[in-house]
Symmetry: C2
Subunit: 336 residues, 2 copies
Amino acid sequence: MMRVPFSDLHAALRAMLLTLDFEPGRADVCARLFTEVTCDGVYTHGLARFPRFVATIKLGVVKPAASPSLVAGFGAIERWDGNLGPGNLNAYSSMARAIELAKSNGIGAVFLANSNHWMRGGTYGWQAADAGLFAMCWTNTLPNVPAWGAVAPTVGNNPFVMAVPRPGGENVVIDMAMSQYSYGTLSAYEKRGEQLPFPGGFDSDGKLTTDPAAISKTERALPIGLWKGSGMSMALDLFGAMLSGGLSAHQIPRDSLRESGLSQVFLAIDPKGLSVEQMDATADAMIANLHAAEPVEAGKTVRYPGEKTLQVRQENLELGVPVDEELWKQLLAQQY
Amino acid sequence: MMRVPFSDLHAALRAMLLTLDFEPGRADVCARLFTEVTCDGVYTHGLARFPRFVATIKLGVVKPAASPSLVAGFGAIERWDGNLGPGNLNAYSSMARAIELAKSNGIGAVFLANSNHWMRGGTYGWQAADAGLFAMCWTNTLPNVPAWGAVAPTVGNNPFVMAVPRPGGENVVIDMAMSQYSYGTLSAYEKRGEQLPFPGGFDSDGKLTTDPAAISKTERALPIGLWKGSGMSMALDLFGAMLSGGLSAHQIPRDSLRESGLSQVFLAIDPKGLSVEQMDATADAMIANLHAAEPVEAGKTVRYPGEKTLQVRQENLELGVPVDEELWKQLLAQQY
């Protein structure tokens, strides 16, 4: 690991995208989103994910020049077609549109069909909360989790995001997939020869296990809350696919390089039209109560989701954004 | 257990409510909601729950004559005060209002403060889906789950509902609390001397356990998805409390008879304004794929949430609604 300035990482990513049929303004935003994800400490979905993003463009799965087009609208809801454009750009403009709709109507929703992997889902929660809005958004994925009671992956892990705005950007943002652990995390534990801290799936005897290798073998990763996460995954999938007119998880290719045609939902709520004088005090009191809770491990503070983000961001802005040295060299040489 | 006709149960519940300062029309609806919950097979929240409901009225915690009043509105969102009225009546009229807002605006949301326990959350999902709308709704609760990393209950289990409309009322409805098992379920396993099928909380050594007695002792019930359900619980609580101007879970009395002043969110989406010709086919294909999945237990079919409801309802309408004989006699004698 080495550290590079935010602006250098942004510039190098942008330069690479300019070689790939990205219009300059779009290359700039797409590169900035990847840089921000890395800077916020979600390393799995930042620079580390960029080579695979480039590969999907070269394969023709992601269309760099495509952007969403409006299909239908009524009041504060709209259906858009993502035209298989870059997932993060599509998602960013969809949340921006949901925010516009919410500013006019108190609430707004965009249902997006035919999009691609949106990288870090939390990005679009932070986008809305930084603008002072509450937000929810989710995406479906290729089938990668067995429905409860099924042997093989049948439903997506369908990441789900909720964002709560607070002053100074100290937003509460939860960004969670419907599987307890991602296959990336399982593989990282397996490489380190470690057991999972909590059961993460079933072994070949159908027993809950903390052995990452056993789970990778069965592909029976555990949904959060067992039957509950399985059911929620289905509901998220149906909301997205039915309202956007796009694909359901089971129709998406089971190949991470060919995963495409995702259905997504972006929902924003602008509280300004209500009488919200006490809103920030309510959040402050809830968080103060949380911080005062007796921790299981002495000395640790109980945290809310997203609490560490601003601190990590500030540290990485000051000291440089951590990048894998090999990936960074390859990026500078435009070798992806 | 014995079975009584739907109309008899409805009439007996209504008669009891008429002794308790309920206006006749409201007694009728409140009794119908309790009857439907029982008829749909959610026995924990039907007649079995009714004596406690009556007790909260007699204690003055639930105000039978109170109904929600509009506090503020902008576009398709509204803030209402529940005035501590009966939770199921408040929730039913709030979802009805969200549906009205959605019919005019494509989407609508009601944020309700100062309400009471809404009994079965799924009721309001079915209400919207039966009218052809998608819906989400949730409530906060008294603190009954430790936040991840905390020793004592700090957050609510905040039941969360998503509903997807399908023709013939074959809706997909998920109704899930943020705890893996309710304390009611833990207590039922303990009484039967059985272990839980999956870990449900921590024992006094801080280890995951399937022993219901050990969990009741520590009060460390497991959030779904461990840290994920804990974070989602906080986000649900903040959405409801901040947007409604009501209480956050930590401000609600930790006494199931005094639990009051709940904050709730009701959100409905009317798909009719979009081009939704393919919508039902999308759901049919998703469900067909699910039913075709190889089950872990041979002979069992993998199901979607809410799938059994219509069948149970039909059976109970035909054969009579199952009720506890003692509770039924007490109800007829108005002895709660």
